[in-house]
């Protein structure tokens, strides 16, 4: 797999590795690992987006929604169930949902089966169904949300190990992607983009509003971890003894140990996904996808079922993003729907893919690491830049004060400049498609 | 009819040829130099290719005299289109020069060449698909400041079908209709040199005949025509000069008749 890389690509990876090592030396290993862990997750997200865009030319700008769904998976799998809430209204909520789904299915069936008065019949089904749904559902929701709203007020999860939520998050995202794909994949380029953007906003709106599901904007915090807690390590005599023996500060070492635990898990996931993605891309399947991307009409005439392939790759890519989303929520230890912003979770991932090199899995991965590193490090870089610029100015000069005050905003500015520079000198990405 | 071509249409072609300084050496030997150095339009010893890729043209010379028709033929991928693009400045030449009426225009941008009276119909994507047929023609006359309605009437005259379709987006036309729009667009510039890359590809026989007729007429008004053709026998029949390109090099050069008569050329390039 590594054999696909050229010397130049290896050098680029070495450079990024150097950035992380440098961070470890100059700042601290804890910082370096923190960035690395999110970098791994970003790389997976970028991989997922690259499948959709790089392979098939699907302009998905709804990444945020799939990340969030993955996160929802983490809550649903790992949090303990709220017994009281289930007792008070849980079943009613579920019944409501089933009724709602049944309404939609009935409407769709009616649309395809009924021949006379189709419109009115469908509308009637939808309206009646909506009211029944609201009647059943709203009551259940109210009951669930009334259960100690400050700390629970939701149904809780299954109380399973959180690692299980990674595939589950992927499945949730895949399910949503399937629904979306079924309806929206007929759209081209920017139209598909805005549709997915909208759907992502809808997903977030639901996450924010439906408190019974995952506490909405009140957030779920304190998710269980797949790795030990630092405190436990610090309290473990064996650990402290060993670290002291090796000459490490136990507190720092506990942080590093935990982070390395995450790193290990994430690396395994990334490696598996990358292998799968590379194998697929280098096969006739990948060739078929590229053909579809190049020219749908011709691919269709050559017997390729474009719609199905689009759906397939859309679902797969979204699933990968969902997995990353669940991993991210695991790492954060909390689900905070308010933090899902398109800029951070959609456009930044796009930047990763394009800067890395769309159509190239290794490029996407590299982009994930590099751009995330930058995203975190532009803050000190921007501040340092301002320090440097103002160093020559006399103290108390208005410009100096103004510049230093504005240092925080240099963060985005620096990000923008770096992005433009990379794009300028490598317009097809750092590791372009071959 | 207020055609500027009017009255000249059926004059003997030999009139036009007077004063041409072409001293083509009869015969078809490869690499034989013809005296074209001071032709009206000449792409002289052009060498170059796309971007930083390998050279496509190798020391290739194409020229056309005022009022003459020069036809380029050759196998697919020989570099005919590339040669045309080179003459029109859409390619960076590594060697060689392009001269128009004695002036070196090698460094000019395509739109400057348009201003100098050159017009070009590329082989592919040669119309504005989202614009109506009429707007396509208007765009052809973009640099003209005078009244264009006369020229437009002539184009409609030449391609009557376009008149019916003038309000339709050109992208919705049939293959042959598009081709007609493309040629019409170039005619709208009222050029002194008209360069056509396979203008008859996909047009029906009757339109092709019309087109060749009109090309002859146009040439007789003193306009130089440089065209690439795969309908080579018809094209060479009306050509004053013919070039056979093979792999980016001048393989055979001669008058149209000479090339038509050459059995080797016929067999290898004109389909027997």
């Amino acid at each position: 797999m590594i054999g696909d890389l050229k010397t130049r690509d290896l050098l680029l990876f070495a450079f990024v590795a150097l950035l992380f090592v440098g961070t470890g030396i100059v700042q601290s290993w804890n910082v370096s690992l923190t960035i690395l862990n999110m970098g791994l997750i970003s790389a997976i997200m970028a991989l997922g987006v690259n499948m959709q865009w790089g392979y098939a030319g699907l302009f998905n700008v709804g990444i945020m929604g799939f990340v969030a769904l993955g996160g929802l998976g983490a809550v649903l799998v790992s949090m303990p169930p709220t017994g009281q809430a289930w007792a008070d209204g849980g079943l009613r909520v579920l019944l409501g949902l089933v009724l709602g789904a049944a309404t939609v299915v009935a409407a769709v069936l009616a649309w395809s089966r009924v021949t006379r008065f189709r419109g009115p019949v469908v509308v009637a089904i939808l309206v009646i169904g909506f009211f029944i749904f609201r009647a059943v559902f709203d009551g259940g929701v109210a009951a669930v949300e009334a259960v100690d709203p400050a700390s629970t007020g939701y149904l809780g999860g299954l109380g399973l190990p959180i690692i299980l939520s990674w595939p589950v998050g992927g499945l949730l995202a895949a399910g949503a992607a399937w629904l979306i794909g079924k309806t929206a994949l007929g759209l081209r380029s920017d139209y598909l983009a805005i549709a997915t953007l909208g759907i992502a906003e809808i997903v977030i709106a639901i996450l924010k509003h439906e408190d019974w599901m995952a506490r909405g904007v009140k957030n779920v915090i304190g998710l269980p971890r797949p790795v030990p807690y630092e405190i436990d390590l610090q309290n473990s005599e064996a650990f402290v003894a060993r670290m002291t023996a090796w000459g490490f500060d136990p507190v720092t070492a506990s942080g590093i140990t935990v982070k390395l635990g995450y790193t290990g898990l994430f690396v395994v996931v990334l490696a598996i996904l990358l292998w799968l993605a590379q194998a697929a891309l280098a096969s006739p399947w990948g060739r078929m996808m590229r053909a579809i991307r190049d020219n749908e009409v011709a691919a269709e005439a050559m017997g390729k079922d474009v719609t199905r392939r689009h759906l397939q790759v859309f679902v797969l890519g979204s699933a990968v993003v969902g997995i990353a989303g669940a991993m991210m929520t695991t790492l954060d230890g909390q689900l905070t729907p308010g933090t899902y912003q398109p800029l951070r979770f959609t456009f930044l991932v796009w930047v990763m893919v394009i800067v890395g090199g769309s159509g190239n899995n290794w490029g996407a991965v590299l982009g994930g690491f590099l751009v995330w590193w930058l995203w975190v490090q532009v803050e000190p870089i921007g501040a340092a830049l301002m320090q440097g610029i103002t160093a020559g100015m006399p103290d108390g000069m208005w410009l100096k004060a103004h510049l230093l005050e504005a240092a925080a905003h240099m963060r985005l500015l620096t990000m923008g400049l770096i992005l433009l520079l990379v794009l300028r000198f490598s317009p097809r990405g750092l590791i372009p498609e071959r | 009819m207020s055609s500027p071509y009017e009255g000249r249409a059926n004059k003997d072609a030999s009139i036009v040829k007077q004063g041409t300084r072409s001293t083509l050496t009869p015969g078809t030997a490869t690499g034989e130099r013809t005296h074209t150095a001071d032709a009206f339009l000449i792409g002289d010893s052009m060498t170059g290719g796309y971007g930083s890729g390998a050279d496509i043209l190798h020391d290739c010379t194409i020229a056309v005299e005022k009022g003459e028709i020069a036809v380029i033929v050759g196998p697919n991928g020989a570099g005919k289109s590339t040669g045309m693009k080179a003459v029109f400045g859409m390619l960076n030449l590594r060697k060689g020069a392009v001269r128009l009426d004695g002036e070196d225009i090698t460094a000019l941008t395509p739109q400057d060449r348009v201003a100098k009276g050159m017009a070009f119909v590329p082989q592919t994507s040669n119309i504005f698909t989202s614009m109506t047929v009429e707007e396509n023609l208007e765009m052809g006359a973009f640099l003209r400041r005078d009244d264009i309605s006369g020229t437009m009437a002539q184009v409609y005259d030449l391609f009557p079908i376009l008149k019916d379709k003038r309000r339709q987006p050109a992208g919705e036309l049939s293959g042959g209709q598009r081709q007609q729009v493309a040629v019409g667009r170039a005619l709208m510039t009222q050029p002194t040199v008209l360069m056509l890359d396979e203008p008859t590809a996909g047009v029906s026989p009757i339109v092709m005949d019309e087109l060749f007729d009109r090309i002859i007429e146009v040439a007789r008004t003193g306009i130089s025509i440089l065209m690439v053709e795969q309908n080579a026998r018809q094209a060479l029949a009306i050509a004053d000069k013919g070039y056979v390109l093979v792999q980016g090099r001048n393989a055979h050069t001669g008058t149209g008749k000479e090339l038509l008569a050459d059995p080797e050329v016929r067999r290898s390039f004109l389909g027997g």
Binding site: R290, A298, M302 | D12, G202, I206
Partner: protein, 259 residues
């Protein structure tokens, strides 16, 4: 083989195909001619499932195929080329050909991970086949070239080459000749006839080059204004006054004067 009954395709108020009825015999090579805008390409597009018909019926070997999507028609053995070349521009010419055959086991994701041996074998065969086709089209040297970076005529050749990658029942060729060198076109004509004889392909060929039509086709249909104007052998068609007026014309007026 193919029967088209009272087929209509309207664009807004414009009737591009206006009640065409025609029949393509099995194992024939039918020439389809007609003035620009006669509706030939549109007819192809409707038959091949690219455009939904406004009205009418298309059957293939007795089976109703009206409105089936192109990819299903492909698997039924119906292939077509495009008048304006539709190459896969970022792929090499060889890949352009190799992607064509349907049912490749490597097109199933599962196999790309767990059936790599089988894929490798298949790929080897495909590659050989593709190279053969390239060779035949005299463009072997372009095997590794991106299809977006070849000449206009070469793209047309590639179009044709794709239909040669599989065993088709019926092939629709939309002006394969336009832009193709005449010497090469002769060779292509030979190939078409050979495929027809040896492998029983049926061909429908749109072409404006009467020499080519004359050389290969046994039956010619001339369309005009969306309808079938005349039908018969080329000689018959050429003698048809209406066809001459609408399509063939009477030759160059000025050519003799010039030459």
């Amino acid at each position: 083989m193919i029967e088209v009954t009272d087929l209509h395709k309207h664009f807004g108020g414009f009737h591009a195909v206006d009640g065409a009825t025609l029949k393509i015999e099995e194992r024939s090579i039918t020439g389809l001619i007609g003035p620009n805008g006669a509706g030939k390409t549109t007819l192809f597009n409707v038959i091949a499932g690219v455009l939904p018909p406004t009205r009418g019926r298309v059957t293939m070997a007795g089976e109703d195929i009206t409105g089936l999507p192109p990819h299903e028609l492909f698997h039924k053995g119906l292939l077509r080329t495009f008048q304006i070349a539709h190459e896969f521009s970022s792929m090499t010419c060889r890949e352009n050909l190799m992607m064509v055959p349907g049912g490749q086991s490597g097109e199933r994701l599962w196999n790309t991970w767990f059936g790599r041996k089988r894929i490798a074998d298949e790929e080897r065969a495909l590659r050989a086949k593709a190279d053969e086709v390239l060779e035949f089209l005299t463009v072997s040297h372009l095997a590794e070239q991106r299809a977006g970076e070849i000449s206009g005529g070469q793209k047309k050749l590639l179009e044709l080459g794709r239909t040669m990658m599989v065993d088709a029942k019926i092939v629709f060729l939309d002006e394969v000749g336009a832009g193709v060198n005449r010497t090469l076109l002769n060779t292509i004509g030979d190939a078409i006839m050979r495929l027809n004889k040896e492998r029983n392909y049926t061909f429908v060929v749109i072409e404006h080059d009467m020499d080519f039509i004359g050389k290969i086709s046994d039956h010619v249909i001339c369309m005009a204004e969306g309808k079938v104007l005349a039908e018969g052998s080329l000689a018959e068609i050429k003698a048809n006054e209406q066809v001459i007026e609408a399509y063939l014309g009477t030759g160059l007026k000025n050519a003799e004067a010039t030459a």
